[in-house]
Amino acid sequence: MTLFLTLALIVLILSLCIGLIRIFLGPTLEDRIMSVQLMGTTGVGILLILGLLLDMPASIDIALVLAMLAAISVAALTRKKAMGAKND
């Protein structure tokens, strides 16, 4: 079981590295914001499996905080100012 979970960890972090490629390449800013969101979701997965492997129940709290705040960072990158001011 632990061997399987460790292999799952490798698969997840390879998925994170694929998101990294997109964050370096992505021609528009929106591609980069999407990669940040991908890394957030993958990070939640990595944290939960790390919590099982390292016997760290607090990792679920970390995953909760990460899940809640991922939306805030995307909102910060995409919100527009009032009175029609551009933010780009």
């Binding site: 799952a8 694929i18 997109r22 929106e30 939640v44 939960l48 939306a71 995307v74």
Partner: protein, 97 residues
């Protein structure tokens, strides 16, 4: 037996994850990448969390894990909407054949 079910669920979840990430890399259009990202990754995470719930088996932990999944689902939905809105506002990201 329960371990096998958990392993199967986590494997299916990982396959969805990989599919979502490769979709983010290979799809031509910003909006199709958004589809791959939000739908595939969230389903993958849900499958993985189901597997982890079967492994840990504690009631409080299972409830917390379901809460994590619901939060990721809701914030992914709102984030995807915000990203698509920003791209639409600037009228870019469409794939030109």
């Amino acid at each position: 037996m329960t371990e096998l079910i958990a392993i199967a669920l986590i494997t299916v979840g990982l396959m969805f994850f990989i599919a979502g990430s490769i979709g983010l890399l290979r799809l031509p259009d910003l909006y199709s990448r958004l589809h791959a990202l939000t739908k595939a990754d969230n389903v993958g995470l849900g499958m993985m969390i189901l597997g982890i719930i079967i492994i840990s088996g504690d009631l409080l932990t299972s409830l917390k894990l379901i809460l994590v999944w619901l939060l990721v689902l809701a914030s992914s939905a709102a984030s995807a909407h915000l990203i698509a809105q920003r791209a639409r506002r600037r009228e870019r990201g469409l794939w030109k054949p």
